[in-house]
Symmetry: C2
Subunit: 199 residues, 2 copies
């Protein structure tokens, strides 16, 4: 029974309640009850509700990034890398619906909007995997020569929409369908060339 035991319980309870009822349908008293702790105890681990939600976001996002990074190699051809990342991402979102629903809510709230604004400002210093991939893709003419946000929209837009449909039960996404969908995304992004196997 580590010190962080209760902390985890609180994080977990927040996640479940926020996913089910939204930020506003998850009062601190309810979180405390679900976590099996007193209302005051939450404030031993988190300064306030805001800090709790931000901590939850950080944990969820870290796990996601770790999953994508693991097993990724930037030695492979552009297409293969793209398919790999997108497939991993979609599979992860589909198999972790709680995380996915939470991230959706978070990004579509005042938290997420200010976070986006931050990202614009420190644009240059966060070199993430996808930025590199898109820039290389354009340089090698494997991808269309469009602004990075457009390529990102073409890649992630469909994946997010698919994950949403799946978690809401509108669509049964199995492995075969995931692959077909990701390949369709690639068709939208790839440049107009005869062969792209060695790009």
């Amino acid at each position: 029974m580590k010190k962080s035991d209760k902390r985890d319980d609180i994080i977990r309870a927040s996640l479940e309640l926020i996913v089910e009822h939204g930020f506003h349908g998850a009062p601190m008293a309810m979180i405390a009850e679900k976590a099996g702790v007193g209302a005051g105890t939450i404030y031993r681990y988190f300064e306030n509700k805001d800090a709790l939600i931000k901590a939850l976001h950080r944990e969820v996002e870290e796990k996601l990034i770790a999953t994508l990074t693991e097993g990724y190699s930037d030695e492979k051809p552009i297409r293969e890398r793209f398919i790999y990342l997108c497939t991993m991402l979609l599979k992860y979102l589909v198999s972790h619906p709680l995380y996915f629903r939470f991230l959706e809510q978070y990004y579509n709230s005042p938290y997420g909007v200010s976070l986006r604004r931050d990202k614009i400002l420190r644009k240059s210093d966060n070199r993430d995997i996808f930025t590199d991939l898109f820039e290389q893709g354009i340089a090698r003419q494997a991808m269309k020569d469009l602004p990075l946000p457009v390529l990102a929209a073409l890649a992630f837009g469909p994946l997010i929409a698919l994950a949403r449909d799946h978690t809401l039960g509108l669509l049964e996404l199995d492995d075969a369908l995931i692959i077909k969908s990701v390949e369709a995304c690639w068709d939208g992004i790839k440049g107009n060339v005869y062969a792209d196997e060695f790009k």
Copy 2:
């Protein structure tokens, strides 16, 4: 000066406040002040806050659908119809950022989720333009043979993401870029055939 003058003021004030501060940063008192009416007046036009928000959503969605329907002809080839609808949609979202931001918030809230669930249930009786287009597209082999929700995700996912990037200032979407983006969407959806001009 019609009877609905104040009603419009209230709707407008709600829209602006909700877009700027979210559902929860828009208390009735603030809406009343912005609309230039007394707090109680709102309740002469709307039963409660919930009804107000639903009415706002209905108005916004009606305008959007009217825009898309206007000038659309289901006589034209599949590709042309697809490009037309997507271009109109994206242009509309870009030029009406308040409506767009509101719809985003609405769909990512408890309102939107229950609305989606409703849509699943009465699946069969809402024959909208896009459903018809996708079904014809598959039948004529102009589009990939994928489940309708997947085609919808491939088409709308990127458009929504682009509109969001634009309203947040991450990207300047001019007419040329809109067309390129919509054509890239089409590349993701179209079937693998030599010529699709006459489908």
